[in-house]
């Protein structure tokens, strides 16, 4: 098919048009020469296409014609249409789906901030008016998924539209009604893990860390505020006041003299008893052995003995036996004295025991803890328990607010100085009169409530970059009940990086039902009823320290102690319940998750003083009596043991005495028999002497009669015989 001649070449062209519109738009010399050669100038001065062009020439001319067409003008109209279409489409899409887009993104953003499900109802955006209205906003409670943290009714959000074009969301005001807190949900408000993960834009790690630190800090605080961690409660020492005397004695038992004196004494006597019994057995055996000899001696009838030799032999036997009995008697008496000494020692031990009992009593009574408690310490301890719960709540609330603020910052990451600059650096020169961060709520005001109460909330200065706005966030919360009770709270939250104080809060609550903190319940208080008025303030410093004051008034208080509570708890409960009003004033400081300083004074302090002193005196007297009773019981027990030992010795002494009596009997028998025998010998001697004297007289008479000479010789001979007879009998002890 033959190539068609381009329309631009069909009509004759004037020289000027040919030069400007055709040749002037060809920028390659070869092409220009070709086109110039393809035309010829006619007689009328106009340029026409030559007739003898080949198909290749025509093709080349067609291509060049297209290039000439492309080279016309400065703008590429076709390229303008594409971006216009894209922009137009985007605008139309946004206008059509703006509400849904804002609703979805708003829910995601708030879910990141609050960590729980968020529902935005019927969002209607009016961008030209810079206003967004909501039928409702419901934010679930992350910690209690079946409850809502808060919910708004109809809400109007006024936005600074110009700032939207600078990439910032600046909300001038949020006006809302129907504010409610803690309402119940029918479905769980917890986020799915996938939602949570999806909502993490890289700041998740930091957020999680923040949450963990916050919760760990809170746990640490609550732990530190527990009973064990509150020093004053140890002094209050409700357990210490209910003294266990038995335990006290048991602890000191090894150190008591009354428990050691007798066992030591008895330990010594046990050996003595064994030795004594052995000795006594020996003596008894010996007594029995001598008994037969003594009986034989006793059976001798001295009058029947006529032979002096026999008598003398018997006397010698008696003397020998007497010596043995005497030795035995000496041993028996020695043993007797030993037994009596043991008995005396045991009786001395008994006396020493009685003396030691008093010393031990004094020592044990000295061990009774010093119950000299300062009632202000009790008040302080109670205050600590009360403040513990209060601080836990305050700390919880403040940390939750700060966590939410931090989440706002994390969920809407403020471009850093580095990000604000192009990659190659440079310095941004600020020209903005109002340096808005990426997200600002200048003011949030709302109210809510029902027939029983009215709630007003006002928050100003919520910002994703407080450093940039150099402003603080002020929170005002007021809940007024129709029955006169109310809670007013004003707090200033300073999240600027250089701020010394992180938050400063003032509060006043009237008519709230007092609730005992867990710490108070642990020390024995069951419930506290009455009308309360609490006021005070807290300051949270940037370094984590929390300081505050709390003034509390409880009217018509009714404090009850738990069953089995300590006397002090019952005492305090009793005193408190008798008062028309209790005033308390507390100042406290918390640092590094522990109470570092606390001062408390209550109207109960002086009342408590007398009562506590009396209670302490009673407790001490009771403890002392119980100790005395216990010591007496121990002494009686020990004396009984001593008596048993003494009885053993008494038996031994009895046995010893019996043996001794026997021995003495033996001695007496032997002595009597000896005396008898000696008497018998004397008689025989006297009889012999008388017989001899009579014989002599008879012989003298006979001699005188027979012959005087012979008689004289015979007399000498007879006298010589008598002498011989008398010289053969040598009585003991008797000398010739």
């Amino acid at each position: 098919m033959a190539t068609r001649i381009p329309r631009a070449y069909r009509r004759p062209l004037t020289a000027t048009r040919f030069r400007k519109k055709i040749l002037g738009r060809i920028y390659l010399d070869t092409e220009r020469e070709f086109v110039a050669g393809a035309f010829h100038e006619g007689d009328d001065g106009k340029y026409r296409l030559r007739e003898d062009l080949t198909p290749e020439d025509k093709k080349r001319l067609a291509r060049i014609a297209k290039e000439i067409k492309k080279n016309r003008g400065l703008l590429r109209i076709g390229r303008i249409a594409v971006p216009l279409l894209i922009v137009g489409g985007a605008v139309a899409f946004n206008l059509l789906f703006l509400d849904r887009i804002l609703e979805t993104n708003g829910e995601k953003l708030l879910e990141r901030v609050f960590g729980a499900q968020v529902e935005i109802e019927q969002l209607d955006a009016q961008p030209m008016e810079g206003r967004i209205t909501l039928a409702g906003l419901i934010v679930a409670d992350r910690d209690r998924p079946m409850r809502n943290l808060f919910e708004f009714g109809p809400t109007t959000i006024a936005i600074r539209m110009p700032e939207l074009f600078t990439g910032r969301v600046v909300i001038r005001e949020i006006s809302t009604t129907g504010i409610a807190f803690g309402t119940e949900r029918t479905t769980s408000g917890a986020l799915d893990d996938s939602d949570a993960a999806g909502g993490d834009d890289g700041s998740g790690a930091g957020l999680e860390d923040l949450e963990q630190r916050t919760e760990a800090g809170l746990d640490a605080v609550v732990d530190s505020l527990g009973v064990d961690g509150i020093g004053g409660l140890d002094d209050l020492s409700l357990e210490a006041l209910s003294l266990d005397v038995e335990a006290l004695i048991a602890d000191a038992r090894d150190d008591l003299t009354v428990t050691t004196l007798v066992p030591e004494a008895i330990e010594d006597t046990e050996a003595a008893i064994a030795s004594t019994e052995a000795q006594l057995e020996g003596i008894s055996g010996r007594v029995r052995g001598l008994g037969d000899t003594v009986q034989e001696v006793a059976a001798i009838d001295p009058s029947s003995l006529t032979n002096p030799q026999t008598i003398l032999s018997t006397v010698q036997t008696i003397e020998s036996t007497r010596d043995s009995v005497s030795a035995l008697g000496e041993d028996a008496r020695t043993l007797q004295r030993s037994l009596e000494a043991e008995i005396a020692r045991l009786r001395e031990t008994e006396q020493a025991l009685r003396n030691a009992a008093q010393n031990d009593l004094d020592a044990l009574q000295a061990r009774i803890p010093d119950f000299d408690i300062d009632p202000s310490a009790i008040a302080e301890a109670g205050a600590r328990a009360f403040v513990a719960g209060f601080l836990g709540e305050a700390w919880n609330t403040v940390q939750r607010v700060i966590a939410v603020a931090q989440r706002v910052r994390a969920a809407i990451p403020e471009s850093t100085e580095r990000d604000r600059r192009p990659r190659r650096g440079g310095v941004d020169i600020p020209f903005s009169e109002t340096p808005y961060p990426r997200f600002v709520i200048e003011r949030l005001a709302g109210d809510g409530g029902d027939s029983s109460q009215r709630i007003e909330v006002s928050v100003t200065g919520i910002s994703s970059d407080p450093d940039l706005t150099d402003s603080t966030t002020e929170i005002v919360f007021r809940r007024d009940r129709t029955d006169g009770r109310y809670l007013h709270l004003e707090s200033e939250l300073d999240l600027r990086s250089g701020a010394r104080m992180r938050s400063e809060s003032l509060f006043e609550a009237v008519g709230a039902e007092p609730s005992l903190p867990e710490a108070a319940q642990q020390i024995g208080f069951a419930s506290l009823n009455g009308a309360t008025r609490l006021s005070g303030g807290t300051i949270l410093f940037a370094d984590g320290a929390l300081a505050g004051t709390l003034d509390a008034v409880v009217t018509d208080p009714r404090l009850s102690a738990t069953e089995g509570a300590s006397p002090v708890a019952e005492l305090i409960a009793g005193i408190a319940s008798e008062q028309e009003q209790i005033d308390g004033s507390f100042t406290f400081e918390l640092r590094d998750a522990a109470i570092t300083d606390i001062e408390a004074s209550t109207s109960l302090t002086e009342l408590l003083r007398a009562q506590v002193e009396q209670l302490i005196a009673d407790l001490r007297a009771e403890a002392e009596a119980r100790i005395r009773e216990e010591i007496d019981r121990i002494v009686a027990e020990q004396i009984e043991r001593l008596a048993e030992e003494i009885a053993v010795f008494d038996v031994l002494v009895g046995r010893s005495t019996e043996e001794l009596l026997r021995i003495e009997t033996y001695e007496q028998i032997l002595d009597e028999q000896k005396t008898e025998l000696e008497s018998r010998v004397a008689d025989i001697r006297d009889q012999a002497e008388a017989a001899a004297r009579a014989a002599v007289e008879q012989a003298e008479a006979q001699a005188r009669a027979e012959a005087e000479a012979a008689a004289e010789a015979a007399a000498r001979e007879a006298e010589s015989r008598v002498r011989d007879a008398a010289g053969g009998i040598r009585l003991p002890g008797r000398r010739n």
């Binding site: 390659l28 070869t30 290039e67 600059r421 190659r424 440079g426 020169i429 020209f431 903005s432």
Partner: protein, 179 residues
């Protein structure tokens, strides 16, 4: 992509296009290279250059070639930008401009951005005319001289070069006429 850009670049040099288009592409490439990317000003200039009848391929190649070197000029650009941005007489103007919608996105208040813009604009005219001259010289002197040389023909047989040449033909229908 790189080969396509190189092909576009060569095709543009040899195409039946106004030398000014190529020169404007070079000048715009220099401007975009001097301005740090990532701001609305840079994007706007890129879009505008795409709408104008200038050679986009040349512009992109120039920008890519010069961008790595542009940071060397940052100190100078910073001084220029700082001088202008801190000029007392212009404070009111800049403050007003900053409050205009979308203007903060241009980052014109950044010293390197503004310095790059001013330097790029100042260089635009000289670069443009210099580019025109160079394109003319290339088309009339250099290209004819090398196009028929044996070295170039042998060089074209290298696979990568032949691929580029094919793309050049694709992008430049006049290639056959001038080759």
């Amino acid at each position: 992509m790189i080969i396509t850009i190189i092909a576009r670049f060569i095709a543009a040099l040899n195409a039946n296009r106004r030398p000014g288009e190529v020169a404007a592409g070079i000048a715009m490439g220099v401007l975009l290279a001097l301005i740090p990317a990532g701001n609305l000003l840079w994007v706007a200039l890129l879009i505008v250059s795409a709408l104008l009848r200038l050679n986009l391929g040349i512009e992109i190649v120039t920008m890519l070639l010069l961008s790595p070197l542009a940071h060397l000029a940052d100190p100078l650009l910073h001084r220029i930008g700082l001088t202008v941005l801190t000029s007392p007489n212009l404070q009111a103007l800049f403050s007003s401009a900053y409050r205009l919608p979308l203007m903060p996105f241009t980052r014109f208040n950044n010293t390197v951005v503004l310095g790059g813009l001013l330097a790029g604009l100042a260089l635009w005219i000289p670069v443009f005319f210099l580019g025109r001259v160079l394109v003319g010289v290339y088309r009339t002197k250099i290209h004819p001289a090398i196009a028929n040389s044996k070295i170039v023909k042998a060089f074209e047989k290298i696979p990568i070069v032949s691929k580029i040449a094919g793309l050049v033909r694709k992008f430049s229908r006049v290639y056959g006429a001038v080759a």
